[in-house]
Symmetry: C2
Amino acid sequence: MKIGIDLGGTTMSVGVVSDKNEIIAKKEIETICSDGADKIIERMSQLVQQVMNQVDKTQISHIGIGCPGMLDRSAGRVLYSNNLGWENIEISEKIRQIFKIPVYIENDANCAALGEYIVGSGKDVNTMIMITLGTGIGGGIIIDNKLYRGKSGNSNILGHMLMVSDGLLCTCGRKGCWEAYASGSALIRMANQKAEECKESELSKYKELDHSLNGKNIFLAIHNGDKAACQVFEQYIAYVAEGITDIVNIFEPQMIVIGGGISQQGEFMLNPIRQLVEKNVYCGLDAMPIITTSCLGNDAGIIGASCLNEY
Amino acid sequence: MKIGIDLGGTTMSVGVVSDKNEIIAKKEIETICSDGADKIIERMSQLVQQVMNQVDKTQISHIGIGCPGMLDRSAGRVLYSNNLGWENIEISEKIRQIFKIPVYIENDANCAALGEYIVGSGKDVNTMIMITLGTGIGGGIIIDNKLYRGKSGNSNILGHMLMVSDGLLCTCGRKGCWEAYASGSALIRMANQKAEECKESELSKYKELDHSLNGKNIFLAIHNGDKAACQVFEQYIAYVAEGITDIVNIFEPQMIVIGGGISQQGEFMLNPIRQLVEKNVYCGLDAMPIITTSCLGNDAGIIGASCLNEY
């Protein structure tokens, strides 16, 4: 058995994972970034202790942690994480000292990709790319059954491919990144703008009623056939598909797995994406990967993190 | 010894390559695409015969051919090549029947990348990406000492990453590809437009004098400090750098090698590219690869093709 941790900016989840990569115990709590790194690491340790108490803890071989941001994996440090508000925070050694077992860290998007590759949607392929459409766009690349990491160990910045040269300012400081057009946040921004333009739309009504737009009320308006909402959806899907087309042109993986809240839309989102990618991909149908959604949801990160000793 | 062939839309080059990967005999002739595939393959065979006659031909183990376009490598066929005007042309078997030794084919940009990786600029790295700025933009990806090919064997379509969503129409049919902004042809298009706008510029004078703009007179105007030409150069370099930034964000290779005619500009082009990439790359200086130019020029394709038996 092993421990997998998914440390997010909002929630942290800790699971005990069996040698067959099934989650056998799990707990999650709010991260509360404003409490600072020491407090967060302390709460994480308590959560590990709690799930360990549910099993025979002597059988636990190691702990794997998926963290957002840029890491120094060998030093077990988070170099910089915008989501957590961390800069140069030692994490592995602190956890190791408490539990006296090996601790591994890896980027959270890479952990999610690993989880999907090992036991999720990608379990039958050897080259797979996972993208997570959330606050930002995360990416994880599996090539020939290995996690691809690049020179600094922090590559796979798929969300920061260019979509529009000199376009919208991205949170990373560059202008025109894919993330600025195709993340969940981008969808909400586009919907807000449309609601302002179309005061008679359902979108605009939800904005007033619920005091803000979010994934839930935006997709409610879309599924109700609200014209303004459907236009936003069409434009958003076009942006998502443009980035996926690039990924297919560059990598031609066997599979692309889409994760994040929006992926709950399933075929409703996948069908138009597949059509657009098929239309634009350079090498035609021979190059088309399976395009599907994550099947593990948030568990992918826990399972992937728990397998870091092998990847 | 072995034979390497670089089959281009304009010129075909055939070389005898030693076991140490040095070219020991070489010949080239015009391709003349309008003559059709049979005639081109016939002339290619004659050229192979001529270089073989310069050495002990019994010592030649195999032939490797770099072709533009999409290939079925295992069937030895060019599926489609816009440059050659070929569709579903058998090539390996025809050459094999003449010379009775194994024949390999591979995309020409991949062959150039292989050549640079084996004995050129990339000889000391194991992960390297080569981009060729010519009529289009070619790309070849070496990951962990292997040529990366993707599902259909025709990936690495780096020139067809998006630069501007819904932007300029690319020759591939998609709108806004990097190739439409950063290829040599794009530079010439931009310079022509500028020459029309700035009738007093040196660029405009060269256009009139030489009846057209080309790499040579454009760079003459740039090096002479012509304001209009320098503005074109600055915009062009910005587009080149945007695509390279994407490649660094995605792959973080140890090295990026720039080939094609424009790469003859050397440091004059490399310095501003490096500055722009450094400024925009997501993971900062840790992620920065060596960015350099091809050191084998047109020989890279011949040498790479001659090594296809090993890659």
